[in-house]
């Protein structure tokens, strides 16, 4: 910490130290709080919230892919499964930590949401470039649109599930919380497509699968800006 404390003329800050709120006003606030007081169950510990959201993500992704089949999973080789699903799992863990940070006021900032979102996008792009051949594909759009549609539907449903979960907390920055939630839901869409889609083509995965992630992240942030969506559930 620089030694500005001593060399600046900050006496102006002292003047405000004498300011006190009106005692009657405080009494009325306390009475208002006491009149609607009932016991609440404290929020679970950080590891419990992180584990719960990670588990929710995994169960949701596997369950959501079930009606459409696990074509992608069966088509993948062992190394591809390990790398692709491994990266998605690590990112899901990252977003679980980030979501906890966003819905519990005063949490220690371990990683900014924008860093988490961009790092995840970079990791997904890198693993796609590494695992899938970069060749032109016939019917690129016709075969891509159904993937994007499925990814967005899954993301939307995942976003609603996440929103219900997040409302149990208190988002001190709804836009950031929305972006994290949207990205997390987008990652669920990417996970479902990785389980379902058997097309092993780099450009296809980059555009149509990861497009889900980008659209969901932006949508989440925009919804978060409409702050009321992430306002905490009341516990009078």
């Amino acid at each position: 910490m620089p030694n500005e404390r001593d060399d600046m003329r900050l006496g102006a800050f002292d003047s405000i130290q004498l300011e006190m709120p009106d005692a009657d006003h405080l009494a009325s606030i306390a009475a208002q709080m006491q009149s609607s007081l009932r016991p609440v169950r404290p929020f679970p510990s950080r590891p419990a919230v992180v584990a719960l959201s990670f588990l929710l993500f995994a169960v949701f992704a596997v369950a959501a892919a079930m009606p459409f089949g696990y074509g992608g999973f069966h088509r993948f080789q062992a190394v591809q499964r390990m790398l692709d699903y491994g990266v998605v799992a690590v990112l899901a863990l990252l977003f679980s930590i980030s979501l906890d940070q966003q819905i519990v006021p005063g949490s220690k900032a371990r990683m900014s949401p924008s860093t988490a979102i961009l790092t995840s996008l970079a990791a997904l792009c890198a693993v796609t470039l590494l695992l899938f051949p970069q060749v032109a594909m016939r019917d690129f759009v016709a075969r891509g649109v159904p993937c994007l549609r499925l990814g967005l539907i899954v993301s939307a449903v995942g976003g609603v599930v996440g929103w219900v979960f997040a409302r149990k907390g208190y988002a001190t920055s709804p836009a950031r919380a929305g972006a994290v939630l949207g990205s997390f839901a987008g990652l669920a869409g990417v996970a479902v497509l990785a389980l379902h889609c058997a097309i092993q083509n780099g450009p296809h995965v980059l555009l149509w699968h990861l497009g889900t992630y980008v659209i969901a992240a932006v949508t989440g942030a925009l919804i978060g800006l409409r702050r009321r969506f992430l306002r905490t559930k009341t516990h009078p």
Binding site: I16, M20, P42
Partner: protein, 177 residues
Amino acid sequence: MKEEADELESLMRRYQQSDREAASRLVESLSAQVFRFFLAQVRDRSRAEDLLQDFWLRVHHARRTYRAGEPVLPWIYAIARRTQIDDFRRRTRVSRHEWQSETLPETAASAADQDDSPALDDLLKPLPASQREVLILLKVNGLSLEETARATGTSVGAVKQKAHRAYNTLRKVLGGS
């Protein structure tokens, strides 16, 4: 300091368990400093009191999100900060609307005129909102760097940087006056 923090933590836990006395004591022990946090930013006593009421309502609704063992003050100031930001946005929307309907909007200057300590106002005026907020948390409310970082949802490094920039700006302003 440590005893004070432990006491606050104990009050928060009891408040979560619907202890009426703990609720009352929390309001007593924290209102003055939170009020100063609002007053330093809005420079209008009645507005700061409105913010304080809104803040406690939010604390009441969000009380389950406090985790035992975590420091209370960053949790409190994170909610206070949100209250102030929401109020600022609401007022901006309202004043824009009033402007459109050809009614004079309430200006910051008129609020400042009512206040009897313009020195702080002058001091904070040249600073961007984020730097002003960090300076108030550190200097008016006496939070540590770590607590300020938690309350503002940023890292300690970012808080240090904002404080440093704020001091540089103030040094220029004071040097020139």
